[in-house]
Subunit: 413 residues, 2 copies
C-alpha cells in the first residue's frame, strides 16, 4: 500500500494541535468528583487562606521579643493569661510579658507574633518558664500565607490532582467547570476478526484483541468508550456502521484489520464522513506506519494499525494528544518519560522514529532497559514489557549503556 | 505529644505487609471493565495464539527454498495458484514452485513456510517474478508464537493493564477474577474543621481540605470512598461515628485534627474499635511523624496527620501499601520513581526519612528538581510541586547536583 501523506511524529502532533479543540461546553462538577478532569476555567481566590494567623505547633503564643536570650540555664518568665480553644476566636489580646496556651491550628491572639513549642517551656502555676527564644513569625502561618485574596490559584487546562481539589476546598469553591468527558467510539474491522467470547474459532479467524486493549487504555485516560462491534471488509456496510457510530461520539477510532483492503476502506470511510477528511496518511514510525488521522464534521477520526503492539503505541503517541486537545488540556511542563540505560545496541533508521518495547531491571548499578523484541503482532511482547522507548528520527540507533527515556505503561495520561 | 511506638518507614511497611491481606472474596468482572483491577487468579491459556500460522505482511505465500538466490537481476519464477481470503481457511495446499496471494493476517496454506512481500514481486499473468529471497519463517507468525497451550500468561497479583486484557481477549477469556474494590471511609476530626461549602467562616474556623484531597487520591488509586463527615474533638461522639463508619468500610482513615487532643482521641478510638489496636504510633519521617497505623476486627485503621502536605505524603507512603495488601497486589518489580538532579543543597537528619516537595524543570543539561519549601500546613506548596523527593534515613542531606528519585504526582498507584 502506498502512503500519500506520510508525516513525522512531530508534524502529526502539530497537525493535531492545529485542527482539534474542545467540541462541547464545559460542565460543572463537584470537587469530590473532579479528580483527573481537565479544568476549564481560571480560578481566582475570593478569600485568604488561612483566614487568620494560626499556630503550626502545640505551645504558647507570645511576643517574640519577650523570649530573646532565653535558654535552658536562663529561662524567660511569662504570665499565662489564657488558653485558645480550637475553632474559636482568640478572645483575649496578648500583652507584653504574657503567654497563652495554643493548640496546633489554633488562632493567634491579637498582640502575639510567635509560638514557643510545648517542648521548650515549663508551666509553674500561672507562670511559664521559656527555655528557648523564638523569632517573630516562628511556628505561625499568617493570614494569607497559603492563598491571598485575588490570587490566581489554578490555571485553565490543568488536569486536576488531589491537592488542586484540596486547594479549591480551602477557598470554599465546591463546584468547578471542567471539560466534558470525551466519548470515543471504537469500530473494529477485518474479515478475520471475531468477538472475544467466540469459544470455537474457525480456521483463519482471530479474536478481537485490539478493541478490548484500546478501550481499556481509553478508560485509563478518562474517556468514555462506546464499542461499535466488528464490521466486515465491505465498504458500504463499513461506512454505514462508521457513520452511525460517529454521530454518537466525539472521536472515532477505526481499529484495523491489517489487510490492505481494510486500510484502503479506512481512508475512503474517513473521506466519506465529511470534510476535510484525511489529514495524515502514514506516520514515519516503526511500528505504526499505517496510521491515519482525519477530521470530519469538526471531529477527529483515527485509523489505527492492525497489529496490537502498533495500535497501543500509536494510541498513546497520537491518540493521547487528540484527547488532550478535545479537553483543552495544557501541554506537559516537562518530559515525563522515565530514564534508564539500554542493555544492548539497537539499530534504527534515520528519518523514522522507532518504538522499542522494554522490560526494566534493577541492577546494582541502577535501572536498565532490556529490549523485548518480537513481531508487532505478538501481544505477549507488550505483556512482558514495562514501557516503550523511543529512538528519535535523527538517530541511527543507540549503543549499549546509553541513557534512554521510556514511556512507562501506567494509568497516567 | 509522646509517640510510644515510633517506627521507620521500612519497619512500618513490613508491619503492614504482615498484618493485612484481602478481606473479601474475589469478584468476577468482564475484561472490558477490568482495567486497573488486581488479578486474583493465575491465568493459563487453553489455546494457541495465533491458532494458525499467519502472514504479517501483504504478499505471496511460498516455500522459502524456491526463492533462494532470487534478486532484481535474477528473479525466481513461481506459479500463482490461489488467493487466501481473510478469515477463511487456506483451502489449497501449496506445492513446490507455487505461490498464493496472502493478505496481512491471512492463514498460511499447507506447504508454505514464508511470505514474499508484495513490494518484492511482480505479477505477470499467472506467473510471479520474485526479486528477493526469503528464509523459512520470514514474515510469518507461527501457530503458538504468541501463546502456547498451557502457558502461564498472567500472574495473580498484577494490576491489569490494557495489554493484559488484550491477551485475555486473544485466548477467549472474557471474564476474570479480580480483587474486590476496597471501600475506604474518611472521618475528619477537629473542632476547627468546617465543611468546604460553608461560605462565611467564623474566626478560628478552617475548611476541611484534607478529606477532599485524600478522597480524590483514593479515587485515583481505584478505591471507593465513603465520606463520613466531620466530628468534633469529643471522645464519645468521635468513637460512635468512627464505629458506625468502620462497619461499612474495609479501611478507615481518621483525618486529623492536628491538635494534641485529636491525636490522643485517634489512638483511643483505634484501641476501642477492637484488637490488636494500634500497631504503629508515630513514623520516623518529616513531615508525617504523627501518623498512626492500627488494626481492629482484621481491618486497617490509619490516623493521618492534620497538615495537608503531611496527610497526602503519608497516604501515598503508607496508605498505598495498605490498599495493595487489601487487594493482594504484588510488589513492584522496579523502583518507579523518577530521576532528576537537585538544584540546591538540602540538609536532613540521620534516622529520619525526609520528604521534600519538588518542582521539575527541563534545563539544557537535563531535568532538575527544585525544592518547594514551606510549612506543611500550606496546600499551595503541593499545588506548585510535581512530586515528592525522599532523603532516606541514612543520609545527612543531599548536595546540589546530586541525582535524586522523585515520586511524581499522578494517577498511578
Amino acid at each position: 500500500m502506498k502512503f500519500f501523506n506520510v508525516k513525522t511524529v512531530d508534524e502529526t502532533v502539530n497537525i493535531i494541535e492545529t485542527h482539534f479543540a474542545p467540541i462541547h461546553e464545559p460542565v460543572r462538577v463537584s470537587i469530590r468528583e473532579a479528580v483527573g478532569r481537565v479544568l476549564a476555567e481560571d480560578v481566582y481566590s475570593r478569600e485568604q487562606v488561612p483566614p487568620f494567623a494560626r499556630s503550626t505547633v502545640d505551645g504558647y503564643a507570645v511576643q517574640a521579643k519577650t523570649t530573646y536570650g532565653a535558654s535552658e540555664s536562663m529561662p524567660a518568665f511569662l504570665d499565662i493569661t489564657g488558653k485558645i480553644q480550637m475553632g474559636k476566636r482568640a478572645e483575649i489580646p496578648l500583652l507584653e510579658g504574657q503567654a497563652q496556651y495554643i493548640p496546633t491550628g489554633g488562632m493567634l491572639p491579637e498582640g502575639a507574633d510567635s509560638i514557643v513549642m510545648i517542648e521548650h517551656v515549663e508551666e509553674v502555676g500561672d507562670l511559664l518558664n521559656v527555655y528557648r527564644q523564638v523569632a517573630p513569625g516562628e511556628n505561625v502561618i499568617r493570614a494569607g500565607d497559603d492563598v491571598e485574596i485575588g490570587e490566581h490559584v489554578l490555571h485553565k487546562g490543568i488536569r486536576l490532582r488531589p491537592q488542586d481539589l484540596g486547594l479549591l476546598a480551602a477557598i470554599g469553591i465546591t463546584e468547578v467547570a471542567v471539560a466534558s468527558i470525551p466519548v470515543v467510539g471504537i469500530l473494529s474491522t477485518g474479515d478475520e476478526i471475531v468477538p472475544p467470547d467466540k469459544t470455537e474459532l474457525s480456521p483463519g479467524e482471530i479474536r478481537d484483541i485490539n478493541s478490548v486493549m484500546i478501550g481499556s487504555r481509553l478508560m485509563q485516560l478518562g474517556a468514555e468508550v462506546i464499542y461499535g462491534g466488528i464490521v466486515q471488509d465491505e465498504y458500504e456496510e463499513f461506512l454505514a456502521r462508521a457513520r452511525a457510530l460517529f454521530g454518537k461520539v466525539d472521536f472515532l477510532l477505526l481499529s484495523g484489520g491489517s489487510s490492505v483492503g481494510t486500510r484502503d476502506f479506512t481512508v475512503q470511510v474517513i473521506e466519506a464522513l465529511g470534510e476535510p477528511g484525511v489529514l495524515v496518511h502514514g506516520v514515519a514510525t516503526k511500528p505504526g506506519k499505517p496510521t491515519i488521522i482525519g477530521k470530519s464534521q469538526g471531529k477527529p477520526v483515527m485509523g489505527l494499525p492492525g497489529h496490537p503492539v502498533s495500535a497501543l503505541i500509536m494510541l498513546d503517541l497520537l491518540g493521547v494528544p487528540i484527547l488532550k486537545q478535545l479537553q483543552g488540556e495544557s501541554k506537559d511542563d516537562f518530559d515525563k518519560r522515565f530514564k534508564a540505560r539500554i542493555s544492548r545496541n539497537v539499530p534504527s533508521a534515520v528519518g523514522r522514529s522507532d518504538y522499542i518495547r522494554v522490560r526494566l531491571e534493577e541492577r546494582e548499578d541502577g535501572l536498565w532497559a532490556v529490549p523485548v523484541f518480537g513481531k508487532s503482532g505478538l501481544v505477549t511482547t507488550m505483556v512482558e514489557s514495562d514501557g516503550i522507548m523511543e529512538i528519535s528520527a535523527n538517530k541511527e540507533g543507540i549503543l549499549e549503556g546509553d541513557h534512554v527515556k521510556i514511556k512507562l505503561f501506567g494509568k497516567e495520561i
